[in-house]
């Protein structure tokens, strides 16, 4: 059934030429069936999960499933072998807890008809499209899919582009031959107002959410009455927008709310308190002030991989002189306007720097507080992701906590812990192979396996 390949030759090739070219050849033509679905990664450092490390061992994959992991593992006769030469680290494939990867942004429509009544616009123009399913919008050949794989991502939870209610999210595999994996996961919501029409502000969005939710609750009650016995009852009114709330109201689907500051997190909790849905949170930039509330509520969270933009002056200053700027902070400065503006400026710089560090130290703070968190790239440029993780680590985030946020905790956040997030027998063969220390500047992603198939890049 399986054809034994020249595995030793391949291993030699990998050792000399590096992994990239070898597997690249294997994957050149997706139309041609693979020679074998079995792989053995040997002489690799295996980080099965944060804190669970095998310094040198073997991982065996068969048809998309991890079949063996250990220090000494029998390699099946039909396996293609990748030899790490003890310089390769294998970790569970990274998971992006919330993303638009593989979901092309719709083209801007310039010739939309004018809205006759901006106080009551059509739902789609107001960004109220909870009935949309992201699985209808996937493009496995989209550039972003490969860009994420190059960073070590193998799976993600994706949501549609849109306004305050873009639609339902789903788990996807970053697999060029097909991304869909499972049913809708969450109803997605963000505090994104409709431009120039209702609802345009955070308070309008809050009110509109209460309206949609409570009217949906009423319609659910009526549908139940009608289903029980329709005699004598008017036909229940139906529309896809309110229907989309039914699974949320019944508790079958959480509302995932994306927040961009601490006040939006507070608003999300206010809405939850008023309406009673099951809630998840993402983003949370500046969320250091809401850590207690999150810990108390036990809300699942995915922290943004974004860091604040640097102020103009910071761009011009070398990193090693930043410490002296902080040391120059003088709490006693009381400047008469337009007198000693230089002293005032020095203090402002110190405060801005301190504020930036507070943002960068947030993931470490969550870890210290014992709050499990995933990472999300939602709204973050892919080119910034690696550097931003390094910046979080420079402010105290451990490599293990960063790894958890991209693997175990991310898998839990998107509800796939039973199949993804660690290197254990029986789990899906999503793996990320790197050289260099995890998340360090020297780390290079050499290849990722998605559902047991390797994808390769020029190093």
């Amino acid at each position: 059934m399986y054809i034994r390949t020249g595995s030793r030759v391949l291993a030699l090739l990998l050792a000399t030429l590096g992994l990239a070219q070898a597997a690249h050849a294997q994957n050149d033509s997706p139309d041609i069936p693979s020679v074998t679905g079995t792989w053995a990664l040997q002489n690799v450092r295996i980080v099965q999960a944060p804190g669970r490390v095998i310094d040198s061992g073997t991982v065996v994959l068969r048809n998309g499933v991890i079949t063996a992991v250990g220090r000494r593992v029998d390699i099946p006769y039909d396996a293609r072998i990748m030899d790490g030469g003890d310089s390769l680290t294998v970790v569970a494939g990274f998971i992006d807890a919330l993303s638009n990867v593989g979901v092309p942004e719709p083209a801007r429509q310039n010739n939309l008809p004018a809205i006759s009544d901006r106080s009551n616009p059509p739902n789609d123009r107001a960004g109220i499209q909870p009935e949309r399913d992201v699985r209808d919008m996937l493009d496995p050949t989209h550039d972003s899919v490969d860009a994420y794989r190059k960073l070590g991502f193998t799976a993600a939870q994706v949501v549609p582009h849109g306004g305050m209610l873009p639609g339902t999210g789903a788990v996807v595999l970053l697999d060029a031959s097909g991304m869909r994996y499972g049913d809708p996961t969450v109803q997605f919501m963000e505090f994104e107002g409709a431009r120039g029409m209702y609802p345009g502000t955070p308070m309008g969005i809050m009110a509109k959410m209460r309206q949609l939710y409570r009217e949906s609750e009423r319609r659910m009650r009526i549908e139940a009455l009608y289903a029980d016995n329709p005699a004598g009852l008017s036909r229940p009114v139906e529309d896809p927008v309110h229907d989309a709330f039914f699974p949320v109201i019944s508790g079958d689907r959480p509302l995932l709310i994306h927040t961009t500051d601490a006040l939006e997190v507070r608003r999300a909790y206010d809405m939850q308190a008023a309406l009673g849905f099951s809630m998840m949170l993402s983003g949370l930039s500046g969320g250091f002030d809401v850590m207690d509330a999150i810990k108390t509520a036990g809300t699942p969270v995915a922290l943004t991989l974004a860091v604040p933009e640097k102020a103009d002056w910071m761009e011009k200053v070398k990193d090693d002189s930043l410490a002296s700027i902080l040391e120059n902070y003088d709490p006693d400065v009381r400047t008469a306007t337009f007198r000693d503006t230089e002293a005032e400026r020095r203090n402002l710089e110190a405060l801005q720097l301190q504020s930036r560090q507070k943002f960068l130290a947030m993931p470490a703070g969550f870890a210290t507080a014992g709050i499990d968190f995933a990472f999300t790239s939602y709204g973050v440029k892919t080119k910034d992701i690696a550097a931003n993780i390094q910046a979080f680590m420079a402010e105290g985030l451990s490599s293990d906590d960063a790894l958890a946020a991209l693997t175990t905790h991310a898998a839990a956040f998107i509800g796939v812990s039973d199949v993804m997030g660690s290197i254990d027998t029986g789990k899906m063969a999503n793996l990320t192979l790197v050289t260099g220390d995890l998340f360090s500047k020297d780390m290079k992603v050499r290849t990722v396996f998605v559902d047991g198939r390797p994808t390769h890049y020029t190093p």
């Binding site: 209702y198 345009g200 309008g204 309206q211 009455l225 507070r266 500046g286 604040p308 102020a311 402002l348």
Partner: protein, 449 residues
Amino acid sequence: MNRNSRNIILAILLMAVAPHSSVAQDVLLKGGTVLTVSQGTLQNTDVLIEDGVISSIGRGLRAPRGVETVDVSGKFVMPGIIDAHSHIALSSVNEGSSPVTAEVRMEDVTNPYHLGIYRALAGGVTTSHIMHGSANVIGGQNETIKHRWGATDPDAIRFEGAPRTIKFALGENPTRVHGRRGSGGTGAIVPATRMGVEQVLRDAFENGKRYMEDWDAFNASTDPRAIPPVYNERLEVMADILRGDVLVHCHSYRADEILMLTRVLKDYGVSKITFQHANEAFKVAPELAEYGAMASVFSDWWSYKFEVYYSTAFNAAILTRNGVVTSINSDSGELNRHLYHEAAKSQRYGDLTDDETLALITINPAIQLGIQDRVGSLEVGKDGDVAVFSAHPLSVYAIAEMTYVDGVKYFDRNEDRDDMRMLVSPSANLDTYIEQETGRHDIHEVIIK
């Protein structure tokens, strides 16, 4: 970062987050001139605040064990000033997309990080009524807050138990925003005129009334298969106004539109109304007094648009002498720092007594917000919200020195650093004041007064 710079960061952090607790505290203010507003002026008198509440006012009071004594001899102690019209501490002000947005709430967008709170404290102001803007005829529910600077949770600055209020607006703002969009062209909707404003109000009340009746009938029904009426967040609020659960605060200028609203409210049985701005209220002061309507005005601010030309600095005095409960408000993050000065101007023009004048910024706005049992005068049992001035607050030489809320000192002129912000944007351009203030690169929202 080395250990040394980490320690410095920690030190800065500790300073930036001032050690203010929202928990009520105890303090004895000793030997000041106490302006009670409700019970006259008491010389050389002590005010004891325990657990955030005034427990005693008198001479020779002793501080209970562990309670701090503050010497305020030579200084003037007055009730914390109350601003009945403000737009500080808000993330958004106008949901200007619809002429009626009764369903939106400033409660949802209360922003405790806003520096305006601290600035207000620096003017002796302890409570603000933070309002929706005036873009819409019915604009949204307001929030009454206490200036507990340093809290990051919006709930921590709410005035617990304060009645619900809602913003209405008449005249040029709603007609411009909705009726004259694109010079009356595309997108223009009712109201384009003052007539239209009245019609929008009557429609909203009529719809609210029917909505209330539909739900009352449903709730009274014993039929287990009765179908509940359509839910409407907006009309829920209109119904609450009709039930008397929400106090109306209406942006208005002209006498004719002020009388128009009293007629509309009378038709729908709504009795609790405070006219905001109300520059022409002096023309209809007896009518307002008869209806029980109240007024919150400026001392001498006018002519910033056509409908505000017919104005007088005697407005507050005429209203007061006609028995209308009147306050002086700021509607501004700058003017709120010298409301005592604004009140003094009304006294200067209209010959009000000291107590009548102080009432304009203390007990009267408290009555208008329905919080007069808690704040607005210095009396035993009221909240320990107190402002300490260097001179009589109606003197041009007066300087606010200390401000207490619930017995907690949130402002002290001697501890007033250059930069009191709780959150400094790490990204804003240092040279741009607005960016530093808001952390935003563009200001989309324009507050409409």
